[in-house]
Amino acid sequence: MLELSSAEWTAVELSLRIALVATAWALPFGIAIGWLLARGKFWGKTVLDGLVHLPLVLPPVVTGYLLLMWFGRKGPIGAFLYDHFGVVFAFRWTGAALASGVMGFPLLVRPIRLALEAIDRRLEDAAATLGANPALVFFTVTLPLALPGIVAGVLLCFARALGEFGATITFVSNIPGETQTISAAIYTFLQIPDGDAAAGRLVVVAIVLSLAALIAAEWLGRRASARFHGE
């Protein structure tokens, strides 16, 4: 039943690659920002919190437009990255990864922040008295204890990145083989007279991938909490 054409396979493969790259790049920033929001005491914390959550409440088209202005070839950040690192976002799959990473970011940060806030700081004190310097405390106590939150954030971010449409299409358009993800391909197929069947197949793929992500989240979450509660 599910015989995908090579164009459809390309969209699936591209979606997975974009979502994986987006999540992998977002993760270290997500942990850093989550930590700042959970532990930091600094002026402008509310502003940072607001900025992080902005993609969640803004129309995705607006986020895409802002990305285009800043990260396009002539945008201030885009031009800098191109001049110094040769990185191009505009109309490339890397741009799609940036857009979906930005859109998934608030979903990544929130569970990490909550997990960090829930950690018993006295365990970190105990680690310090046992000779662990602050970096070791972070990597041997804080991070492992926040693991369930990190796993939850990663999967939410991945799922969001996989399905991202509005910001991506605004920022990097809908180019087959470069920026045409599953969502964009479904949209495209629905625009052409006999594209229903192709769209239907991609819908099935989207459902399967989302379900797989959910099951993985459940399984990983259970494994992570078993480490604390089980034997």
Binding site: R122, L123, A128, T129, L130, G131, A132, F228
Partner: protein, 225 residues
């Protein structure tokens, strides 16, 4: 010989802690009612709480001196702590908990010492378990073992029996007495229960409302409940 000299001041809300005392080897009791500032004092010695003024000297090392702006961070003080609630790491097994201090300071493994402490505390059969699977008494024994295995210069015990019922208290005290009689590690033992201290302490610092009322022997526990 003086092991630890403390002379600190700290405002803690309504309480002003201003304590000055010195301790020699053996087990020194910090004795006083709740709110006397015992735990704050212990945290200052461990480096977890910064005094406003004063100094703390362990052997010949200045750990804290406000005037000279010296404040050695807790991970370099080499002071073992046993807290009221144990504070075992829930994501690590008992063995990993015991081994934590050695790993963090990068010392080589010492199986003989590990075995000696584990059997002294009667926890050899618990090594594979997670802290969740331990009784309160077992948890405190592991916490004591973890602090001992970091090879501390001083051991701070902050109400180590407070979270245990009477039966489990009786389970821990003999281990602590053995430790006192065997080990050369000086200990500071915080408690508000005179009966407990009579069994374990060799000298007493009596505190109330952030001040040292008296320093002396076990006779200071007399008349207290």
């Amino acid at each position: 010989m003086i092991v630890l000299a403390v002379e600190v001041e700290k405002r803690l809300g309504a309480l002003t802690l201003a304590a000055r005392f010195q301790i020699a080897g053996g087990v020194t009791a910090l004795f006083g009612p709740s709110g006397a500032g015992k735990t704050s004092l212990v945290n200052m010695i461990a480096g977890l709480l910064k005094p406003d003024r004063g100094c703390i000297v362990l052997d010949d090392t200045t750990l804290f001196d406000a005037a000279k702006a010296i404040n050695v961070p807790p991970h370099r003080r080499q002071i073992g702590c046993v807290f009221q609630e144990g504070r075992l790491f829930p994501h690590l097994s008992v063995r990993q908990n015991l081994d934590y201090g050695r790993r963090m300071s990068g010392r080589p493994r010492n199986p003989t010492e590990f075995e000696r402490i584990a059997s002294l505390l009667g926890i050899t059969h618990l090594l594979q378990r997670r802290p969740r699977m331990l009784s309160g008494g077992e948890r405190q024994r592991v916490a004591i073992g973890r602090a001992l295995l970091m090879q501390p210069r001083l051991l701070l015990l902050d109400e180590p029996l407070a979270s245990l019922d009477a039966g489990h208290k009786g389970e821990i005290l003999p281990y602590l007495m053995r430790l006192r009689d065997e080990a050369a590690i000086p200990m500071v033992y915080v408690s508000h229960i005179a009966g407990e201290l009579r069994q374990i302490a060799t000298s007493v610092v009596r505190l109330d409302e952030g001040r040292v009322l008296a320093v002396g022997g076990l006779e200071l526990l007399a008349g207290a409940s």
